[in-house]
Symmetry: C2
Subunit: 341 residues, 2 copies
Amino acid sequence: MAVTIRDVARASGVHISTVSRTFSAPHLVNPETRSRVLATAEQLGYRPNRAARALITGRTHNIGLIVADIANPFFPPLIKAAETHARRRDYHVFVADTDEDPIVEADLVQALAKQVDGILLCSPRMTDDQIEQLRREVPLVVINRMITGLPAVVMDVGQGARSAVRHLLDLGHRHLVYLSGPRGSWTNREIRRAAGATARAAGADLTVLGPHQPVTSAGAAAAEAVLATGATAVLAYNDLMAIGLLQALQDRDVAVPGEVSVVGIDDIAASVLVRPQLTTVANPTAAAGRAAVDMLLQQGDDGSTGQINLHTDLVIRNSTGPGPYLPAGATTAEVAAYVKE
Amino acid sequence: MAVTIRDVARASGVHISTVSRTFSAPHLVNPETRSRVLATAEQLGYRPNRAARALITGRTHNIGLIVADIANPFFPPLIKAAETHARRRDYHVFVADTDEDPIVEADLVQALAKQVDGILLCSPRMTDDQIEQLRREVPLVVINRMITGLPAVVMDVGQGARSAVRHLLDLGHRHLVYLSGPRGSWTNREIRRAAGATARAAGADLTVLGPHQPVTSAGAAAAEAVLATGATAVLAYNDLMAIGLLQALQDRDVAVPGEVSVVGIDDIAASVLVRPQLTTVANPTAAAGRAAVDMLLQQGDDGSTGQINLHTDLVIRNSTGPGPYLPAGATTAEVAAYVKE
DNA sequence: CCGTTGTCGGCAAACGTTTGCAGCAGGTTA
DNA sequence: TAACCTGCTGCAAACGTTTGCCGACAACGG
């Protein structure tokens, strides 16, 4: 059937071990022999059988990537970056989707465990205990969650939330709402904490609403509750919810940012497609994907369990404007200048 | 290290072949023995080593899924459906991204070929010849492209384009533009052909602009050219381009659908997030993903090479309105009624 | 009681690699 | 000249399964 190491050996008049070494330890074989073997291999169209290799080395050269929801536009850029980066290191990536369900999540890790060299766990919804448990079965790198002793890549969403809240405070808002994300999300806790602390320190109010599924419909559904609080500015767990809210407010003829300012988190592509364009916190998702792959791959070598914290950026667009404390006629341009000071 | 079939055999006092059979051919082993083996296997936490199994059976229980761009919101629902469906059949999915580059595409198929039981090639940009070539190396199912003799799942985008054009004609438009997608896209040719034929049959004009990359920026960049044609309605290769165009028109104070109507294709999530909401052709992407997986899996059994054509639906929203032939004051509601007739 | 049939389980040979060990040639050192 | 490297290659044993073949044994019909 397929051409094996044995065919190449026969055709080039060497032992199979020499062929094997030509590929897996080239420095151990005479350059002359090597090029001869390489030539016949090329000619015969030989491709190493990864299953056989995996069987003996114990390394599959595959990694698993588990995300909450592929259809959530936050993830694709991360998946893409991780996949490309892994392939450059001769690894392939299994992508799986948990539908935001912690049970499915645990099952998936179990199922993939024996078939990959490690798993990237992205925004997991499991408990810390569960994750530490699973770590004993397979190397893990967690993305967007900090667990002591576990290698992790997080985007500094706390800092992002602080910037966002400060931006709103600077605009004069004194009563804010935080639209909570899903239960079990570490990111959600971080944002809530950071936003709460920042608001409190400035003597402003922050009302927390939620939890919500991180989708547009949940954001839209929260509109009534938001208005009921009387707040003039909203920070949402993610852009999808922020966008949902944005549109529900428009449907109710509530002006954004005239009456209510809205800030999202993630900076997904759609955030520049809606009107007004969304002020949001940009996350370096691609960088996170790459960093996580690197971390996972070198975790095998040494036993290092570093934690990487990536910087996030507030991107000010048009969904935020002056709050009640500023002169009513101030334009966003003036406000932008004001914010700079 | 890991618990193997041998450990289970020893612990339950049978030969390894019996253990193997309890898993891969249960009917060949005595129910009593079977349950005993199963029990000890469970207790020891035994998991079959897929590499070893693959080595001897030649089936990896993996499939590859190659798409043009994971970050294009058209693909994630398809990926998600394929992945979930495959897992239900005990298959795992490798996802890879070609960045719309036919060379990368060919490389990826080669790289994955030996490691999977088959590949789902989604909206390929390669030539038909190349694809037929690759088919000799690995079972293939093509999505969104029709090649004689090759198993394929396509969404009937021709029919979608016809509905879209007819909708525009019914609204009174007489000069249409088709905003072409990327070079090498079968879908693009189909749409162009169907749209052209439909317009021509009605005695209307259809100007083709392009090719373009299937992204929002390309749609926006085409705005000038569109206006220069003097057309009153535009069909775009996909929603991203349509949305880009929509916004570029708004930036130029061109009213949509007042002065120009815009129709997209795909019905991505963002098409209801923009204002006006986009009239578009909904594609059954999830169904396509599932169908393709099934087709690939049973391709191994018999040698069947069916082709499936999935129905598409025109979704009329607010980006289309009456053309110059209708009374200027007609509202979209009246027009919708008119279209029904 | 013998022969036949059928069920079950063991034996051992694969599958395509990697890798520790040993051999061998040629060169260097003592 | 002996002893010892050094660089290269061959040998063979793994890795954890699956599976064709055969033997053991029980049941059954004649």
